[in-house]
């Protein structure tokens, strides 16, 4: 392999890596509250990569999207969609719930 080809291959790999990292950082996961349930109730994300969660409240009452482990707390009005910024997380399970409705089953963000 010539030197020129090696340089081109290296540049290509670096660009690919950067693009993959940027895409992972911008990853947005959708969660919808429908009929008193989070859908999906489990979101799987890769470790050590910041991400966003877009929460839509499709019910008729305000909810409070909350997670003690993730230090997140946001009121979502009926019909509203919010974006929650999440930090890079270590592998594990992080519970989230609706603090306004204790009967709504909790969901989990699974980092693996």
């Amino acid at each position: 392999m010539r030197l020129q080809q090696k340089v081109l291959l290296l540049v290509g790999l670096v660009l690919l890596g950067s693009a993959a990292a940027a895409a992972a950082q911008d990853a947005v996961h959708e969660i919808k509250l429908v009929n008193g349930r989070f859908e999906p109730s489990q979101v799987v994300v890769p470790p050590n990569t910041p991400f966003k969660v877009r929460v839509t409240n499709a019910d008729k009452a305000a909810i409070e999207f909350e997670s003690f482990e993730l230090h997140r707390e946001r009121v979502v009005q009926p019909g509203e969609t919010i974006t929650v910024y999440m930090p890079a997380l270590a592998p594990g399970q992080y519970k989230f719930f609706d603090d306004f409705h204790s009967d709504t089953p909790a969901g989990v963000i699974l980092v693996q």
Binding site: H71, E73, R74, I82, V84
Partner: protein, 150 residues
Amino acid sequence: MKWRSTSLIVIGLLISGQLMREGRTNPPVHSDVAAPTDVTRALRRACYDCHSNETVWPWYSKVAPFSWLTNHEVDEGRLRLNFSEWDEYASDPDTAAQKLSEIAHLVANGSMPPWYYRTLHSSARLSAAQTDMLARWAEHQTTAYQSAPR
């Protein structure tokens, strides 16, 4: 005789209750909310025992059943709002804004600090001026976080 047996049972329960030690811990402080000196002073006096990792544990927190209640209050308080982990909230500016908005609301309407805590801790009783100062600071910070770049 009946009174005596009941008393012995109660005393026995109280003594055995002392053996059930719960963890009175102060985990490491990772961060803190930035505020003017007067606000920080008021927050530390009125809020930090339950809402930070810098709890000053009172003497009665060593005596059951008060120790169970105190531990429960501190655990719950730290879960809901922990100033020692403020950077975690601030990494999602709208979460930080919501926390501050709740502080403004609960301090202004007298729900926080709770009456039973104020009764036992005279230093946590805020004057009208201090209440107003805290509420106005929290409202101002709410707006600042709401308009922070994403």
